[in-house]
Amino acid sequence: MHELLNTLSTLDLAPFALSFKLATITTLILFVVALPLAWQLSQSHSKVKPIIESLVSLPLVLPPSVLGFYLLVAFSSFDLAFTFKGLVIASCFYSLPFMVQPLQGGFESLNKNMIESSYIAGKNKWVTLFRVALPNIKPALMTALIITFAHTVGEFGVVLMIGGSIPDETRVASIAIYDLMNNLEYGKAHIYSAIMLLISFFVLLSVYIFNHKQKYFKGVRA
């Protein structure tokens, strides 16, 4: 017990702070980028739509090493490799589908006539997006934001390749656990892993509770 308290008191929380900083910045950037993209995709019947959808979804199926390799090659000429900035850009690539897909799904599930009613009322696509579409997909919006955040916190492969393990710069929580294991510091690795496990669980729990409440109240009101 005494040993555990001692370990806890000397625990370096910087990797967690860095993980949350990375996840927050990535989620905000992706929200701004993915919102118009998801909206356009949901409204489009273009022949290039499947190509764009495939590109957006690539990080879901691509081995992290492949994505990491190409990003590393691209970053080498811009001095972005092994920097926090590079890590943010890489995170935006690998977390893109986690933001786009729930938003696009939410927009596509909306009543088409509700969107058309807004156009008939004289409102353009963007007013319709912010005043009609977005407020009506709250569960999908919540899912997109939280899953993107959680996935960015949890990513390991691409982060290792792009950022390495520079303390206070690129040494995020998932990398710190890997380092602790390599150094045979299992006690600290246990604590770091348990913290990550609990955070991930409560993040997912909050999404499910929110979405459940949304559905329940909608059902009660209807």
């Binding site: 009543n111 006539n113 509700m114 058309e116 009613s117 807004s118 156009y119 008939i120 009322a121 004289g122 409102k123 353009n124 005043r131 009609v132 407020p135 009506n136 909608k218 009101r221 209807a222």
Partner: protein, 277 residues
Amino acid sequence: MISLKINKALCGAKGEMNLELDLKIRQGEFLAISGESGAGKSTLLRILAGLEKAEGEVLVHGQDWEDIPVQKRQIGFVFQDFGLFENMSVEQNLLFVANDKELADELLDITQLSELKRRKPNTLSGGQKQRVALARAFMSRPNILLLDEPLSSLNHDMRLKLQKDILKLHQRFSCTTLMVSHDASDIYRMASRVIVMELGKIVKDGTAKEVFSTNTSHLKGEILEVKKDKIVILVGQQLIELEVSKDKKFNVGDYVDVGAYFDFCASANSGVQKIPQ
């Protein structure tokens, strides 16, 4: 004057078909569009609204509407499933179209929704939602009003009331109104002209009386059941049981001319009718 000369390939109720229309609608006219499901009635409204493209031309007061976006057409549209903004209250649904509180209050009053104006659409009944959609359609003070079965979810009393209200508003805003409806009584009471569509084409055009009046000597009914000396026939929405001669052979699904029997039994109301031998 609205002039439509349009052609559009559609997948209708009976497979692929062409919507081919050459239609002129006078300013201020109340045109009802009737016909079977999948005949292209709603598509006609959507093309006029600018929600769907079609070959040909749509001229409104001589102006070609091809390049006029839906936002600039100043139309009112009541969708069959209402298309209400679920995140907004009843009042906000109206004010979203135009920030004209006075008009919104007046329309809410006419449609008897004043007490419900703070409610969200998902707390309303089907009939109440339909009234919100109707009120919202008039908020843009439309030149053209498009109604896709606007009274289908209403009970009899509310239906009669809204028939009058729509007519009143149609006259007040001097708009040209196109209404898709299957209901002959709605059409008879409200429309100055009716077209009947079949497989994308207009097959009848006239007043409600001309289009829906049937010469009783050509009144047809479908045989639904054949009993020993009786048959059950569906005429319109009415089931009629007729006594028939045992010598005559009838099959379920056949159509029989029952007009002559009504003429013969002019004194009978419904129920058992005598078949002349």
